[in-house]
């Protein structure tokens, strides 16, 4: 893979449509970078439909991504404007997000050994971000991406904020992310409370705990709970947990499917996994570990990312040979983009 991609739109050939992202602000494609013959992901934001604030959000995310450099954070390889689209070139993450993998293959959760690999990578990424005074604020399975070789990257940086302000490392941050409705279930009680106490980078550690439950249980805690009740539960210190034989109670959250419930009730997660999740979800921020402390947790000792593809069989990545074939979708999207450019009643002025 080359370490530099160009900003010439004609060097990229779109192969297939992957999906929408950023609550439909962006469309995501797999494309071939012709000079290097490599596959990449193209994220296109159709600027004409965006408000000024949304354009700012897209700009800020790209600029931030260009200033980060960590193997477990999704890099922006290049970005340019073509027509009226802002295009970001991203590496192809063949397995998609952890949420995709859950949805398609693991309704009751991803195997524990795979989760250890995933969490380890995310904690490395968090530890880097925190050392750079950045709070991510949107840790969740859909923002954790996996490449065909098992390499793991964190994305979703548009929700992040800085701890350093006015030349000082702030003890607490108060700003509430503006476009965060979709992430509420993952956020920490102290962030959601929005009180004078504020929050700090350990808020991400709480979200990591929620994400661990999401990965292990197949569904995010509180998925069907009204928002206010979810908030009340978190503030009271009731925390989500891994569902297995030690914690399962009849009527516990789950997909409702009998077979799924049986699997959950019979399985057993290791003590160290339970311990990691409990410490991440500690209500009292001062007792919650920092991301760099978490790196030493015994649960993360045994894993290596190269074994990840074997651990998540039957999930399979997109590769050059298994691109999703959706020519029809692709054509209809392209056609509707062209429609937007049709001129209706051309006026001509007399100068």
């Amino acid at each position: 893979m080359p370490d530099w991609y160009d900003t010439d739109a004609s060097n990229y050939e779109i192969c297939s449509f992957l999906g929408h992202s950023m609550t439909n602000i962006a469309t995501v494609y797999i494309a071939k970078h012709i000079p290097s013959r490599t596959l990449v992901t193209l994220k296109k934001c159709y600027v004409e439909k965006l408000t000024r604030e949304e354009i700012k959000l897209v700009q800020d995310e790209i600029i931030l991504m260009r200033q980060l450099n960590h193997r477990n954070i999704l890099p922006c390889l290049a970005s340019f404007v073509t027509g009226n689209e802002i295009v970001s070139v991203l590496p192809l993450m063949g397995y998609g997000s952890c949420n995709d993998i859950l949805m398609r293959h693991f309704p009751t959760g991803i195997p524990e050994a795979a989760i250890a690999c995933i969490l380890k990578a995310v904690i490395h990424a968090l530890s880097y971000l925190h050392s750079k005074a950045i709070i991510h604020r949107a840790i969740r399975a859909s923002h954790i991406l996996i490449a065909a070789d098992g390499h793991i990257c964190l994305s979703g940086l548009r929700y992040s904020c800085l701890i350093v302000e006015g030349g000082r490392w702030q003890r607490k941050v108060h700003s509430f992310p503006s476009t965060t409705a979709a992430n509420l279930n993952w956020l920490s009680p102290e962030l959601l409370e929005q009180n004078l106490e504020g929050y700090n980078e350990k808020s991400d550690v709480y979200s990591l705990g929620v994400t661990a439950c999401e990965l292990a249980n197949g569904i995010v805690p509180y998925f069907d709970t009204p928002t206010t009740l979810m908030l009340a539960e978190k503030v009271r210190g009731n925390c989500p947990h891994l569902i297995d034989q030690t914690t399962y109670i009849c009527g516990d959250e789950g997909s409702g499917d009998d077979e799924c419930l049986r699997v959950m009730a019979e399985r057993k997660f290791t003590d160290s996994f339970h311990d990691l999740v409990e410490s991440c979800l500690e209500r009292d921020v001062t007792h919650r570990p920092t991301s760099s402390q978490l790196l030493l947790h015994p649960f993360l000792k045994s894993c290596h990312h190269s074994s990840l593809p074997d651990l998540i069989i039957p999930a399979a990545p997109f590769t050059a040979f298994t691109l999703p074939d959706n020519k029809e979708d692709l054509e209809s999207i392209m056609a509707s983009e062209r429609m937007a450019w049709l001129e209706l009643e051309p006026v001509s002025w007399d100068f």
Partner: protein, 346 residues
């Protein structure tokens, strides 16, 4: 909790940093010198630069578990930085410093820049005597690998009128018209933010600058409005509207709306395919129509297109029914255009 036992590890860097400001600055300067000379031990020099930069950054900002140093230490540090000429050296060698170190340079620079003693800003005064710092930073947009770091520092500088003045009145300012259009989107966006900050932050300074350099600025600006890059066109058109409608820029506005070529451009942009561009163009077009003393060439164009304009505006963005101000303005323009009369012949 399995964790509590392992909590008390300390990062060695924070643990025993008893170096005095003078010592750190000296060590950093030596490392930057080695880096500049390009000795065979470049990696060692890079490492030393990064290590000392991090020490300085943590003295200034503190970290998640340490407080920043006392004001006296920070004052000593600033004084050492001025005396050693290190700020300029760091910026001149920015491309040689490794990735994270570049960001640390920007953070150290921005922190030192904000220093105040009463109402004085000693670093701003210092940079006024060394404008080369500003020119080197502006030139940073030429280089992909340091452009964003330089942008961060430039915008912090632009907050101070004295520094903004030096930048605006330098020949290098006109390079921004090129930077905001480079093909790399993140750099172009960043350059545009800096460009906008320089042209809008200090109202009187900006008005003076625009008046004094009217021809040069607007001939360059014309190119942005005609750019092939959609984002550049949309952003520069919006900024033009803001500039013309700012009351400080009254003289500039009067001059702009007296030129029939500018009116033609806006009328053409009104019927661009992009609705956002149409909308931004409307906010510039309205100034031409609302002008109570329209010069003859302007009036002639409006008269020649009187009926077309009325019809066009009547159908223009009718779906914006929520936007009261826009609808009032549109109704006002239609009325004005309808009532236009040719000047009596003499």
């Amino acid at each position: 909790m399995l964790l509590t036992s392992s909590v008390s590890i300390k990062m060695p860097l924070f643990g025993k940093s008893q170096k005095s400001p003078a010592e750190v600055v000296k060590a950093l300067k030596e490392a930057v010198n080695a880096l500049e000379r390009g000795d065979k031990k470049v990696e060692k020099a890079q490492e030393d630069v990064s290590k000392n930069l991090l020490l300085i950054k943590n003295m200034l900002y503190g970290t998640s578990d340490t407080e920043p140093q006392t004001d006296i230490i920070v004052a000593q540090l600033a004084q050492e930085l001025y005396n050693s000429n290190l700020l300029l050296m760091l910026i001149q060698n920015l491309n040689r410093i490794e990735f994270e170190g570049k960001k640390d340079v920007a953070q150290v620079f921005n922190n030192i820049l904000r220093r105040q003693i009463g109402t004085r800003s000693p670093t701003v005064e210092y940079i006024c005597t060394k404008p080369e710092i500003l020119f080197t930073l502006m030139n940073g947009y030429e280089h992909q690998d340091i452009a964003l770091n330089c942008g961060t520092m430039l915008r912090e500088c632009a907050r101070y009128e004295a520094l903004a003045k030096i930048m605006l009145h330098s020949e290098d300012f006109f390079n921004f018209f090129r930077y905001v259009e480079v093909s790399t989107f993140d750099i172009a966006s960043d350059a545009f933010s800096t460009f906008k900050e320089l042209l809008t932050r200090h109202k009187m300074l900006c008005a003076d600058f625009l008046e004094l350099n009217y021809d040069k600025v607007f001939s360059h600006y014309q190119r942005l409005l005609n750019s092939e890059n959609y984002v550049t066109r949309r952003q520069s058109l919006k900024l033009l509207g803001e500039l013309l409608l700012d009351r400080h820029n009254f003289t500039v506005m009067t001059r702009y709306i007296s030129n029939p070529d500018n009116l033609k451009l806006m009328m053409n942009m009104l019927k661009e395919k992009s609705r956002n561009i149409q909308f931004e163009a409307f906010h510039v077009f309205k100034v031409f129509v609302a002008n109570p003393n329209k010069p003859k060439p302007i009036l002639d164009i409006l008269l020649r297109n009187q009926d077309k304009l009325v019809e066009f505006l009547t159908k223009f963005h009718t779906d914006r029914s929520e936007d009261e101000q826009f609808n009032d303005e549109k109704a006002y323009l239609i009325k004005q255009i309808r009532e236009l009369k040719a000047l009596p012949d003499h």
